[in-house]
Subunit: 194 residues, 2 copies
């Protein structure tokens, strides 16, 4: 019974991830999530509350998984940016989900605020150690690194172009974009000489 309920919850979250990535919060329909998960709608409300709360749960899981797969590394920013790019490429629905969040649930959660503060502290230390250009404020370095790593997904040229993330790049393009990410972040983060 307990195992059944755990399996149902997992199926609901998976179906919700797909639904929200495709339609956002306003456009998502709990009926469709219930149907895709083979669960009933009432159970979704019992487990997760309303549609916004279900979204919050989905995004929290996605961000936790992301932080786990791609730990922040202020001492190796180009590699970190490349790993973010890989993580987004592996499932372009993720970037869509994050964009919906930015638009429809913009308030930073405690999780996000804490994660931001830790990144800034690492960047300050990396700047003090002369490993990252100290000419930028640490928050600006972070914005630049993320802006570059996500550029192919946010500027209208990447696989986020399709609602279901189905249009992956040919491998040759993917590799070329990734090299550009890593190279650009290396240039941005490199301490100036003299």
């Amino acid at each position: 019974m307990a195992r059944d309920s755990q399996a149902t919850r997992a199926r609901i979250l998976e179906a919700a991830f797909a639904e929200f990535a495709r339609y956002g919060i306003a456009g998502a329909r709990v009926d469709r999530i219930a149907e895709a998960a083979g669960a009933n709608k009432r159970m979704i409300y019992v487990y997760y509350g309303n549609k916004e709360q279900l979204f919050d749960q989905v995004i929290q899981e996605a961000l936790e998984k992301g932080a786990e797969s791609v730990p922040f590394d202020a001492l190796h920013l180009p590699e970190y940016a490349g790993a973010i790019f890989d993580h987004l490429t592996a499932d372009p629905r993720l970037m869509r989900l994050v964009m919906w969040k930015r638009l429809e649930r913009p308030e930073a959660t405690a999780l996000e605020a804490g994660s931001y503060e830790r990144k800034i502290a690492s960047l300050v230390a990396a700047q003090e150690a002369g490993r990252v250009d100290a000419g930028y404020a640490p928050g600006d370095v972070l914005a630049l690194v993320l802006g570059v790593a996500q550029a192919w997904f946010t500027t209208g040229v990447g696989p986020a172009d399709t609602a279901d993330g189905s249009s992956a790049w040919p491998e040759e393009h993917r590799a070329r974009h990734r090299r550009a990410v890593v190279d650009a972040v290396a240039r941005i983060g490199a301490p100036r000489e003299g």
Copy 2:
């Protein structure tokens, strides 16, 4: 009469811009647009068709205005990126509108496709003239430049954080972010020595 109708159309587009920037297409309500514009709902359908078509009109106007205020300049990419940043800072609703478009109406219009092709051609020429690093594919340069110029609006640290774009930065922050944009693009675009 003709003048009245022109004024009504302008008010509808303005109200639609605000509504779509805040709620996106799925979340927008034509009733609210009608009310804000002091127009009746039927007139909106007569002038612009359905909600999606009204959105297309709003985004097309915004992109045209943007291309006019910030002409692409492959020979001066840092200044171009700074100008994009200024344009987005002046009205953060614009970036929200573009993000909704990416999510809800991702197909490139003829206008966008043409504008992309012209930018690529200019970049190729700038690379051939040795003014932009030819180590990147021209499409990658464009993604990097736009990714950096928009970073403060797409990565969760900028004024796009509020649905109505009301939280502007203190001037000191704005100026610092802008310097980071210009500087980062200068580093990315600079041809490598030797």
